[in-house]
Amino acid sequence: MADLDQISEMLQKGKAKEVERLVGEALVEGLNVKEILEKGLIAGMGIIGEKFKNNQVYVPEVLIAARAMNKGMTILEPAMVKAGVEPLGTVVIGTVSGDLHDIGKNLVCMMFKGAGFKVVDLGTDVSPEKFAAAAKENRACLVGLSALLTTTMPAMKDCVDLLKTQGGVKVIIGGAPVTQAYADEIGANGYSPDAASAVELGKKLIGAA
């Protein structure tokens, strides 16, 4: 019989093929789709996120765990649609104009996915207009802005200003030179120093914590 704890365990170890197999078996055995998602995949990524925050695992381990989660999600997603399992919310994420760095942004995407959000990844060098359009189109509850460079941080303010005119969406920011003080200065709803905390912050902001 499929073991949801084992899915979580294999995910934490980054064993993508195992996660894919176990999720497939769980579905064949008729386990509840939401339970597979929550007690298997989300539980596993939650532990990885917590360990990442506490410096018990590092970027390479998070990346392989996320890859394993993606494998599992590929199998699970059609069943989720069929069963009408709704995401926790939609978050639009991207690296701001002029900046092509994406490792940090990708980690944040993975953590949000791993927490049960629908993630719309806009990639890098994203204009304020593109953020605003994507937030509207996807009815996003959250927008995450990333910047690695001091020269691209000002683009975050442009995004925040434009997104504020749309209303209804919370904006969180992050990246190496970014601070809480800068978030306050530009009127962002929050700042997070790492990918796992970004999810906690996002959940809090949308009242899902």
Binding site: G14, V59, P60, L63, H101, T150, D194
Partner: protein, 422 residues
């Protein structure tokens, strides 16, 4: 008369230098964006010259002798053979106008093309018949790698695909390296040189920007995953890389001799803003054996000091880096978790030279007021310069569009520190 080299050597040998040694431009991690170089030339009223970009990836401007003198710089770079994109820097130079309106000089072989979205792309070895290797976005001041990752079969990964760029130096290259070292030595400044092929897993090099058709693991995330998921593969890559590097070290020593003072061994970043990038176990298992081998040979056979660059919160790794023979640490990111200047100096100051740590380039230098810059520079000099073991440098390259008033405040503060009490 005391030279720039003398004060740097004092610092490196943990003797109290007569002034704070200063580096700007000695390495590709301690330079200045071309826009700042141009602004400082104007600030000092120097002859109008188009700034030469010797390192286009980060758009670093070459700091010529007149500017070095005006800034009180004590170290210089031994010019490498080529850029990160594989363009020869020994030939002619040509003008290129950036989107922010600055005309710069780039190697004549370098090919830059405008893209439909307003940005620019650069090509490996200037070859426009293959896909571009780097991109500068429409509002960006730097290039970044274009990932050219071909599909691969996990079970068929061949380590030699990831070592194509590491080759034993030929006679003509060695002759040019020796000439560059001699020219740098004649400056009277401390000479810093990059070593070919000793950057184990440096993420800036992993995408293989200088290669026309890179093979193997070239995607940044895929490489990071390799550290956790394919350690045997990484070892095989590093083994081959180290073998070639050891061969080159012997050739370099024979041709360059004592014309190098400091060698930039590796720029692999082990820290994020708040933590290390990998575990201490991974550092010890995957990287230290190679660092140890390289550093040991250098110390047994040359007078060169070994330089390790790593951004971020790497305090938990410093003891290990000292243990495998690194003499110099850069850029000493004091804003990262655990990287307190006083703690670092007290704990490692007698064994390690801090080449950096002088000013925060994430906040204070680009966004602070001149008086904040002054205060931080004075504080860092007070802490780090005690008994040598310090070469002043900003924490990594001075970023584009840094206010000239802040750069002037930085340089004035160093002078103020040096003259205080004299």
């Amino acid at each position: 008369m005391e030279t720039g080299r003398d004060v740097v050597l004092d610092a490196l040998n943990h003797r109290q230098p007569s002034k704070v040694p200063v580096d700007f431009g000695g390495t590709s991690c301690s330079g200045m964006h071309c826009s700042v170089v141009a602004a400082l030339r104007d600030h000092f009223g120097l002859e109008k010259r188009v700034v030469k970009i010797h390192e286009p990836f980060q758009m670093l401007g070459y700091i010529e002798e007149d500017l070095r003198q005006a800034m009180g710089v004590d170290a210089t770079i031994a010019m490498p053979l080529s850029t990160m994109f594989g363009d020869d820097v020994a030939g002619d130079w040509k003008e290129w106008k950036t989107w922010w309106g600055q005309t710069v000089l780039i190697p004549s072989g370098m090919r830059v093309a405008a893209t439909d979205d307003g940005g620019f792309v650069a090509y490996p070895q200037g070859d426009t018949l293959v896909p571009p290797c780097a991109k500068m976005p429409a509002t960006g001041y730097f290039f970044d790698a274009v990932i050219r990752q071909e599909g691969f079969d996990e079970d068929e990964l061949d380590p030699t695909d990831n070592t194509e760029e590491f080759t034993v130096l030929g006679e003509s290259d060695l002759a040019r390296i020796a000439a560059a070292a001699k020219a740098a030595r004649d400056s009277g400044l401390a000479v810093v040189a990059g070593l070919p092929g000793t950057a184990f897993g440096d993420i800036a090099f992993v995408p293989g920007m200088s290669l026309k058709k890179p093979k193997g693991v070239r995607d940044v995330a895929e490489w990071y995953m390799s550290i956790a998921a394919r350690p045997e593969f990484v070892h095989k890559v590093f083994d081959r890389q180290c073998e070639v590097a050891m061969e080159n070290l012997k050739l370099l020593k024979a041709r360059v001799g004592d014309n190098y003072d400091v060698v930039f061994v590796c720029g692999t970043d082990f820290g994020t803003q708040i933590s290390t990038f990998c575990s201490l176990d991974a550092l010890e298992e995957l990287y230290l054996p190679y660092y140890g081998k390289i550093n040991r040979w250098i110390h047994e056979n040359t007078s060169w000091k070994t330089f390790k660059h790593s951004c971020g919160a790497i305090e938990p790794f410093i003891e290990s880096l000292v243990g495998v023979g690194f003499d110099v640490l850069n850029p000493v990111q004091c804003s990262a978790t655990g990287m307190d200047p006083r703690l670092l100096k007290d704990k490692y100051g007698s064994r390690l030279t801090f080449w950096g740590g002088g000013i925060d380039t994430q906040k204070t230098l680009p966004f602070g007021k001149p008086e904040e810059v002054r205060a931080q520079v004075l504080e860092r000099c007070r802490i780090f310069n005690e008994n040598g073991g310090f070469v002043f440098n900003a924490i990594h390259n001075v970023q584009a569009m840094t206010p000239t008033a802040n750069m002037a405040a930085l340089l004035d503060a160093i002078t103020e520190f040096n003259t205080a009490g004299k």
